[in-house]
């Protein structure tokens, strides 16, 4: 961030602009945009492993084969209103970190990418100095309320973060195994040659089975069990088709049935299918150490938690943003 200008110095005299002091609570971290997807698929996803949808114990493995870990992060601050339309400054970033001898290496220029940008309607974005990378939010005719403008800004921020993640993941050269926090559809769209990659989806807003029996099987898994591999078909939101299975990382009598349940995505390749047990075993090995005190510790694997920590450490502080506002 340059030091020369502030929002107040650029927009301070504009009667249509109201500069605000942002609340410094984190209102949009990692899952703030993960809105529940309410629609369910019409049919049960096709099973690609065996003939029926089963739950099985994952054979124990001694060590994890994952060598790289990828995650993204974003954080946004409201900085002003143009009329009633919000203007936000957001930091988006992603990192793909290598683990060597049990240590996750710190990000470098090659393994971390991120930056600040101002998200605003085009006439305001045009007035923002270029060093903060203004992102114009184009409005359609029906974007006639500040809430809709805000939604568009949120999507733009998420898209930018996703774009960085995909770019980093697509650059993985299959030297080792990459574990991504989230689906692998979009990276596969960009680089269909990705083979040694797996994704962990921690939220279960989208359902892939309508059959009560199958849903019951998923929710009744015991710790260390997984389901049969099924095909998650391509869709606009998630990208390329992938193979997927559910895995129960942890169990607790005092928690709900989704406690410790993740959905794993692997490339739709025969060799990936053949290694489903092994990959599930690796993920079970990755349960230690726990990523406590994160409230998602039942599904958030520690190396991914570490990547998040590195990303957060590189986000600008609240004080820096306040200084930029002026």
């Amino acid at each position: 961030m340059g030091d020369a200008w502030t929002f107040r110095s650029v927009f301070g005299g504009d009667p249509d602009i109201r500069i605000v002091a942002p609340t410094m609570r984190s209102d949009d971290d990692f899952e703030a945009f993960a809105k529940p997807v309410s629609e369910s698929t019409a049919l049960d996803a096709p099973v690609v492993e065996g003939v029926s949808f089963e739950v099985r114990d994952v054979p124990a493995v001694e060590a994890s084969g994952f060598t790289h870990f990828l995650d993204g992060a974003q954080r946004a601050w409201p900085v002003m209103y143009h009329g009633l339309n919000p203007v936000r400054i957001a930091h988006t970033s992603a990192a793909m970190l290598r683990r060597t001898d049990r240590e996750v290496e710190a990000p470098t220029e090659r393994t971390w990418e991120g930056g600040l940008a101002v998200y605003a309607v085009p006439e305001i974005a045009a007035r923002v100095p270029s060093d903060v990378g203004p992102v114009p939010i184009k409005l359609d005719e029906d974007d006639n309320t500040p809430i809709k403008v805000g939604d568009k800004i949120r999507k733009a921020i998420e898209q930018r973060r996703g774009g960085i993640e995909v770019a980093l993941a697509a650059g993985f050269d299959n030297d080792g195994w990459l574990l991504i926090d989230g689906g692998i559809g979009r990276p596969l769209d960009r680089n269909p040659g990705l083979r040694q990659v797996a994704g962990v989806v921690k939220t279960h807003a989208r359902q892939y089975f309508k059959s009560a029996e199958r849903v019951a099987k998923i929710l009744s898994m015991r710790e260390g069990q997984r389901t049969s591999v099924f095909l998650r078909e391509a869709d606009p939101a998630q990208g390329h088709e992938v193979y997927s299975f559910y895995l129960k990382l942890h169990d607790s009598e005092s928690q709900g049935p989704l406690f410790g349940v993740i959905r794993v995505e692997i490339p739709p390749l025969p060799e990936s299918l053949a290694r489903a047990d092994e990959i599930a075993g690796w993920l079970l090995v990755e349960r230690a150490p726990l990523s406590l005190p994160d409230r998602r510790y039942d599904r958030l694997l520690y190396p991914i938690h570490l990547v998040e920590m590195h990303l957060k450490a590189r986000q600008p502080t609240d004080a820096a943003i306040l200084g930029r506002i002026g």
């Binding site: 049990r102 150490p289 406590l292 005190p293 570490l306």
Partner: protein, 662 residues
């Protein structure tokens, strides 16, 4: 992981709301493998400032918020090794040593942190301004592979700006003695006389050997494996030659037989190379230091006044004084003669049936007579029968020389006398400018014993305080050492400008006098290895840990193994030893004179005394040929008694003070 960059960059200053940086302390992070520890010197660079500091506290962090999280992570199994190790780093607290610019003294800036290089060490410790001209290497800072010499300012160590040195360390860990010996070597090699100073030049040292053979072989090279390559490297880093002290003279008191030395350093091989000499105190010393020799009950005001009378009239007065205005004036040169004088005064008072003699009550005189007689028994080897003192203070000191006074085999009272007499005389000789050197270092171990805090005003304590307070103006510097600094007189410790701390026990570290050290520094002090000390010096804003070499001199234990104490010898054997050493060319003549010598014990003592002082064949022969001869055979059975014991009359036969402690 990379430990440091090639330029020594290791971390960055952090300013936390809970622990902000101040003008005198700051915090910085480093990688866990950065070569930083308690005492490490670092440099902070920001756009405007350079700040130098020393690490005083260390903290290690990983991302764990609760130990329970780790326990749960591994299911309570300590052997379980998760695939990912928690990231770990270090946060250090450092105390500011120096800053550029020196003003304004603001908070330490957020800047990059570097390991101090040689130039930085000089800046941090402010030695750059004096090292070349007045620097005395006191050890090395830094890693064993790359030791960087650290200097003390001799003007603040030996005066005149400040002075005195005090060392604390647990006994038996070879810290105190070793460090003081190394420091003396460094001083001798680097001392420069003050420009334009009048009088004697150079520096010498006087050491008291209080335990075993600690200091009895410091002119011998260390032949053990204890002197390592690291020691050689440290000597080289300090630009010092690793050799034993070249000019050492050893002194010890005589044993009760008044012929042999009361010392462990009597091996004939050593005696031929560098003999241990005898020291004795004369009557003047005895009378002068009577308060050391006599306890307080003995020396109340009346006795003190009487003793002073004896001193003035019968010791110092060259003409002497008549007893009761009768007979010849009498002057005492020996303690026996003084006793005779007192006995005569008592007898005179009794014969005149007087209670007082020259305003002194006969009971006081009788008491003093008893005490003086007791002295010869209690201090046999220390008091010269001839009445004349002998020892190192009877001749000038040589610059660069070390004089060792061996008092290890003396009792506590005897040691008190030795300290008191030597320190007093040193002070006087320094004031007179007759010591032969411009500066004199007096090394006294066991200050706990000689200048205890709250221990009352003993003569020794008063002398030490006097040196501590005024010594540096005279060029007299006290190098004191003790195991428990908190139990040493505050004036003695407080007047020392430079302090060193070796390994210190935790009980001692808990005392208030260590409260200015951080907990980590105290912990380090509690576990310091031999060869490491913490130094406080006026130029250093914070104490600094330095490493010093094991001094390349023979250790006491090794010396005693190689040169065991020789068996006590008879008069003839001792005398022959001197003759063979001093007058080999005139051996027959000397032995002939010896054979003709009287068998009288006192005469033999005097001959040995003369031989010890002799420096040439001529002197040796003169001593022997002047000695009393044996009486012709026919007269031997009829010779008169040599000693007359004065006895009191009927009224005074019993000592009225016999129940008092002697």
């Amino acid at each position: 992981m990379i430990e440091t960059t090639s330029d020594g960059r290791i971390g960055r200053v952090i300013g936390m709301e809970r622990r902000p940086n101040t003008a005198y302390t700051f915090w910085f992070w480093t990688d866990r493998d950065a070569p930083v520890g308690i005492g490490t010197l670092v440099k902070v660079l920001s756009a405007e400032d350079k700040v130098y500091g020393t690490v005083v506290e260390a903290h290690g962090f990983n991302d764990l918020e609760s130990p329970l999280h780790e326990f749960l992570s591994v299911g309570g199994d300590p052997a379980k090794l998760p695939p990912t190790q928690r990231p770990e780093m270090r946060v250090y607290q450092a105390a500011v040593l120096y800053r550029e610019p020196e003003e304004p003294v603001g908070a330490v800036p957020i800047g990059e942190v570097f390991l101090a290089n040689e130039a930085d060490v000089r800046m941090a410790l402010r030695t750059a301004k004096f090292a070349d001209e007045f620097g005395v290497p006191c050890g090395c800072y830094g890693y064993k592979d790359e030791p960087l010499q650290v200097h003390l300012d001799q003007r603040f160590l030996l005066g005149p700006e400040a002075g005195h040195f005090n060392m604390t360390g647990t006994s038996g860990l070879a810290a105190k003695t070793s460090y003081i010996l190394f420091l003396l070597q460094s001083i001798f090699a680097n001392h420069k006389d003050e420009e334009g100073a009048d009088g004697a030049k150079g520096v010498a040292a006087l050491l008291f050997n209080t335990k075993g053979g600690d200091l009895l072989f410091i002119d011998q090279a260390d032949e053990s494996n204890a002197f390592t390559e690291l020691d050689r490297k440290l000597y080289a880093a300090c630009e010092l030659e690793a050799v034993p002290f070249p000019k050492v003279r050893y002194y010890a008191p005589l044993a009760n037989d008044r012929a042999n030395l009361n010392s462990l350093r009597t091996n004939v091989v050593l005696m031929e190379k560098n003999p241990t000499r005898a020291f004795e105190f004369g009557l003047a010393d005895i009378v002068r230091h009577a308060e050391v020799l006599l306890n307080k009950d003995d020396l109340e005001a009346k006795a003190d006044a009487y003793l002073e009378f004896l001193n003035q009239e019968h010791v110092q007065n060259e003409k002497g004084r008549k007893i009761g205005n009768q007979g010849e004036p009498r002057r005492a040169k020996t303690l026996d003669e003084l006793c005779d004088i007192v006995a005569a005064q008592v007898e005179f008072a009794r014969s005149k049936n007087q209670e007082f003699y020259e305003s002194h009550h006969f009971r006081t005189m009788q008491k003093m007579l008893n005490r003086l007689k007791g002295l010869t028994r209690r201090f046999t080897g220390l008091i010269a029968t001839s009445g004349a003192a002998a020892g190192p203070l009877e001749e000038p000191f040589e610059p660069g020389s070390v004089t060792v006074i061996d008092v290890a085999r003396l009792g506590s009272d005897e040691q008190d006398l030795v300290f008191a007499a030597f320190i007093t005389k040193l002070r006087e000789r320094m004031e007179e400018g007759t010591l032969g050197v411009g500066k004199m270092i007096v090394v006294v171990d066991e200050l706990n014993k000689y200048a205890p805090s709250g221990g009352g005003e003993t003569y020794v304590a008063a002398s030490l305080k006097e040196i501590a307070a005024r010594g540096r103006y005279l060029g007299l510097t006290l190098f004191g050492a003790q195991q428990f600094r908190s139990r040493v007189d505050k004036e003695v410790v407080g007047n020392a400008a430079t302090h060193a701390f070796g390994h210190v026990e935790s009980e001692e570290l808990a005392q208030p006098s260590y409260s200015h050290f951080s907990p980590a520094v105290k912990e380090k002090l509690g576990s310091l290895q031999p060869g490491e000390v913490l130094i406080k010096h006026p130029h250093f804003a914070q104490p600094i840990f330095v490493r010093f070499p094991n001094p390349c001199v023979m250790k006491g234990g090794d010396g005693l193994r190689k040169y065991p104490k020789s068996a006590d010898q008879l008069f003839g054997e001792l005398a022959e030893g001197f003759i063979k050493r001093l007058a080999p060319a005139d051996l027959n003549r000397a032995l002939d004179a010896l054979a003709k010598m009287s068998d009288d014990k006192d005469a033999q003592t005097e001959v040995l005394r003369g031989l010890r002082r002799a420096n040439s064949a001529d002197e040796c022969l003169k001593v022997l040929e002047r000695a009393p001869r044996k009486a012709p055979i026919g007269l031997r059975e009829n010779r008169e008694p040599t000693a007359v014991v004065a006895t009191g009359g009927p009224d005074f036969e019993e000592d009225p003070f016999d129940d008092l402690p002697h």
